[in-house]
């Protein structure tokens, strides 16, 4: 909200005309961003998500949306309910893992993503279970900022593309939608990025045994998502089987994200992932 309002001072035209990349032409009033949840990473990115007049969520990306200054004070997150800590923390995890496994991953984004994954995996459960735990909330807040830096440098992938589709259709909180789709999409992608998922397994401190590192990491993330109370099925949000083809078509419209996915995803693949959540 604030990032877009700040550039609205010096740019004409309706906000919807800015949807996409590089459609804001003048810098705005400098911003100081102080997040009070740890997840969107918005304070670290040149991105803003808005819903248009038809209700569809879309991204606006411009260097003029970058904050001048960021203040990360964990005291401000202490009043956030555990449910919000869970969904926003999983959103940050998705930013980091998608940036690390996406096609645009690079040495710079890898550093940010690895730091973010470490911070989130070591502290998210603590932040969720102990609301007054300043240390764990600070670790997740800083990790969320790092994940935002990672996605600025490398972008997100199909997890976010599919999450926007169900988020818009059923008003599912963004972090919850990402949590529901993170493991299903990574499972689909795993043969295209097995070495990277294996590296994340090593970073998470999980030893792969009979299973591969990629599979062990996915099991670990699945358990984490469940442990912090993220739902795992769509019908509780009102989804029906007859909605799937429209949802899949909507997800595929997010070409900026789908093109960055490590494995090409067609309509049948996306439909299959949604169907498995029914």
């Amino acid at each position: 909200m604030a990032k877009l309002a700040a550039v609205a001072f010096r740019n004409g035209g309706p906000i919807e005309a800015w949807m996409g990349v590089g459609k804001i032409y003048n810098p705005g009033v400098p911003t100081i961003l102080v997040p009070t949840t740890a997840g969107t990473g918005s304070e670290a990115t040149p991105n803003a998500i808005v819903s248009g007049s038809d209700g569809t969520k879309a991204g606006i990306v411009s260097p003029f949306l970058m904050a001048a200054t960021v203040i990360l004070d964990p005291e401000l997150t202490l009043t956030a309910p555990s449910k919000v800590i869970a969904s926003t923390g999983i959103d940050a995890l998705a930013h980091a893992v998608e940036s690390y496994t996406g096609k645009k991953a690079n040495p710079l984004s890898d550093d940010f993503a690895i730091a973010a994954v470490r911070g989130i995996l070591s502290s998210l459960k603590g932040a969720y279970e102990v609301p007054a735990g300043v240390a764990s909330r600070e670790a997740v807040l800083v990790a969320s900022f790092r994940a935002g830096q990672a996605l600025t440098a490398a972008g997100t992938t199909a997890v976010h593309a599919l999450a926007y589709a169900i988020g818009s259709a059923y008003h599912i909180p963004h972090g919850v939608a990402n949590g529901m789709l993170l493991v299903p999409v990574l499972s689909f992608n795993s043969d295209a990025c097995a070495d990277r998922l294996g590296e994340l397994c090593r970073i998470s401190g999980n030893a792969s045994g009979v299973k591969s590192g990629a599979d062990t990491f996915l099991d670990y993330i699945e358990a984490l998502v469940r442990d912090v109370g993220i739902p795992d099925s769509l019908p509780s949000f009102g989804a029906r089987e007859c909605d799937i083809s429209a949802l899949a078509a909507q997800a595929l419209k997010a070409t900026r994200l789908m093109d960055n996915n490590p494995k090409t995803m067609g309509i049948a693949d996306v439909s299959g992932i949604f169907a498995a959540l029914l």
Binding site: A5, I15, I32, V34, G52, P63, A68, V70, D73, T79
Partner: protein, 98 residues
Amino acid sequence: MYGYDAPRKVIAGCGSLGGLPAFLIQSGAKRITLIIDPVLLETAPIRELLPSLKESFWLDVQTGIVSEPSAEAVELMAERIKKGAGTPEPDVIAAIGG
């Protein structure tokens, strides 16, 4: 080729929000618009912050931080900020929330 952009300054740590007035003075800002999530107004860090901001700056407070807002809501907020700040425009927009 890798592209990357970043905030110019990051201040982190428990209680770091309390340093905002001093930071703003140092930056030379005089007119501040603060956008804040209304549920935060009664929290201890904000109750401590607002008087010192009011004391040192021209301050306009707008409530209504929303994550992933509608385009219409953003346009309305921009109008409210313009009306609240008048002329000249604010030197900085600080946003707490989201």
